[in-house]
Symmetry: D2
Subunit: 249 residues, 4 copies
């Protein structure tokens, strides 16, 4: 099972997340590309550390929104979004190659990630940009989303991810933040949930329903205070259950 | 002889320069990479037009300074500058590849161009970033500059350029803007100067001295009101003198 | 009748619009505040020219989006939007005061203008920011909009504007751009429409219906190629019809 | 004696410094204005907290350089710098007034602070912008600097500050960072130095020379890990020595 986390989210003088610790725990690093976080020097540091730790590098592409950290949905035109995604992906990949690595997948960030679950035009812009850059590059996202449909049409690989610390509703969607059960805050139940997802391919919804969940990668969060402890518990739990942790292939 | 001009310097809703006309006149396009001008969609449009017109694409890397159009020198640290150059170069090259082209040289822009004539540390940051991206990529700049020295040390090709519309002092340096003779404003003498540079490898300084000038590329300006007329005159002049216009190789 | 236009929309090295000409034609200038256009030096130039021409200065507040020129709607939180509006308004007003003027109204720009026609939360953020800055400052916008409702609740003056070069539907809304009749392109019918709006308080919709339209200000566009000609025709038309042109009060 | 510290240096999702704690310790807060740090919501939060804690608000104006945190000197023209300073000062002051406060002094930040010690043109731009905004507004800086000279010429009040945790050379200049003795890292000697500065108006240089130092405000740093402990020690030291802590007036 693949474990992915958001990394390289510092910017200039501002630090975010404990990248050093997380890079020893995950198999895939979603690296910010400068539009929501990640100045070039930060990107380079994250790339180098990922190469050393043999962690796969993914392009964490975003709306252009440093002030909002890419968390604000934007009505951006298809051509502009296509260009923005291509630019970020190209920048990270070229930097990675100069440092002995390469981008091996793309995961949209924040508001863009959520928007292309249901917005077909923006999903197409993202999918086409990734395809035109390299048609073999997989995209990481939510099963059943518009971006998954675009990937299918474009003949692109789509990697389905699940969230180990989020509550699920009986229909398979996430409990929205702010509602009861939206977030699992303790490492123990999060680790148990990760094992359930990886071993049985199911998740237990907030009402007790057990749902089938096809998943290729588990997302652990990188920027919360307990992020490292959570990732450590998930990794330990998977290892106890004899689930090998490795990047999807 | 190569003719180069700055292109792709629009940004978002703002237009600058007549790229369409210039792309039929020059052999090398210095394409802005987003730090002083050039949003991704503008970059893509310039790349596509350059590919269609068989004009060589160069990365016009700059300080991060949209508000100042990259014209303000900055005391930026070596690592930061290295990262900024690598990021811009990677972004443009990856975009160009997705559009059937590639970056085939690097020309620093504006204040960075001038700074690395004499600032060894910044010159090294620029040169190393280009080398680490691709050691075969030539850099375009001023003969006798610090960046030329870095290129020599790094084993990188250095393309020497001259300015067809700038006055030269007897010591081979440019007459500073603002002083008498700094700028040639009429197409006719500019075209004659271009022919002299290309054919005899000399330039006549403001005091009448004839200087030897080894030059691989002639720069015509892209963003002045008469830019297109000037470039047209230079091209016509060179063609009349039987100087073939083609990208340096 | 008041005539307003968007001004000061240059940024750094990029020029937009013919501010000089427009300032001799309109009575109110919507001045960009740095978030969609308008670096501080541009703002200062526009302010000074407005003071000289005795044109009223309005704060043309926007989403933070230079790359998109504030034309992309954004799901921004209420507190963040409140802060962004207050910041822009304060910056322009303080600069205006240093130059012998003052901000005397607020007009939201582009996507924000359109969003707060129907988005109550964002409308409230905008209205409250303006009220907390100065409760006597009028806001300019669309009659019947959410921002008009907020102004009413907050006890703020609301100035209703109409668009002289846009097609209207029988229900009083604008024909969306891209549809037939959305835009009037000839100065002559635009000037006639302006006179109709000012004299009879009506507008003739695309289907011929004559609608009542209470209007305090007429918006002429500033950044299109024919903007100055259009504004000149509108001004001349109103003067022929003996409609005095003066800022609302 | 006045104690000042840099506050409000978070930006968007990124946190910096422990403003809450520092606001209980200092008498003057240098508040970032959006150009090196401080999005509008952060500015508003800092302003409100300063008002509650009865701490004086200063405009911490900077070069426009979020990526470099305003720490990179820039060759910016006088008019542009004048505009940038005026914009930031106006924005912060207007926001402060909306929140029941006001800007009561200006302290340039980072590279700009250092540049206007010796660059007369940039110093004049800064001084003139502050004067044109409000001639009674004092500026905080280094005694003997170009900005102090501009203040004198302009008839502006100049508040001389000293650094409690920096080493001084026998000629009264600071030991450059990176050299031995540049930084005092322990709270105890820093507190003693603060008392010496406040009580006897002297400082002991790295070579033991005792220098006279006229000082109106002591700067404690806000963004280092031990910043709060240091400020607490300085405050306690001054109180033990019966030096009242209050904003300069």
């Amino acid at each position: 099972m693949d474990l992915n986390a958001d990394l390289g989210e510092s910017f200039g003088a501002w630090r975010m997340g404990d990248d050093e610790a997380l890079l020893t725990l995950v198999s895939s690093a979603n690296v910010a590309c400068g539009f929501h976080a990640g100045d070039p020097l930060t990107m380079l540091g994250t790339i180098r550390a990922a190469v050393v730790n043999k962690v796969r590098i993914g392009a964490h592409v975003s709306y252009r929104d440093l002030a909002g950290f890419g968390r604000r949905a934007m009505d951006i035109g298809r051509d502009e979004l296509y260009g923005d995604v291509l630019y970020q992906l190209a920048a990270l990949d070229g930097m990675a190659r100069a440092a002995g690595g390469a981008v091996s997948y793309v995961k949209p960030h924040g508001a863009l990630y959520n928007r292309i679950v249901h917005d077909a035009a923006q999903a197409k812009a993202v999918g086409d940009a990734v395809r035109d850059f390299d048609p073999r590059l997989p995209m990481l996202g939510l099963a059943g989303s518009k971006i998954a449909a675009v990937a299918a049409e474009n003949g692109q690989r789509f990697v389905r991810e699940a969230f180990v610390d989020r509550g699920y509703r009986p229909d398979g969607t996430l409990v929205p933040r702010g509602e009861a059960g939206a977030l699992l805050l303790e490492p123990e139940p999060v680790a148990r949930r990760a094992v359930q997802m990886a071993v049985s391919g199911t998740v237990t919804a907030v009402d007790g329903t057990v749902l089938t969940l096809e998943v290729d990668s588990l997302c652990v969060h990188g920027d919360s205070p307990g992020a490292v402890g959570m990732a450590r518990a998930v990794r330990a739990g998977l290892q106890s259950a004899k689930v090998p942790i490795a990047a999807f292939c």
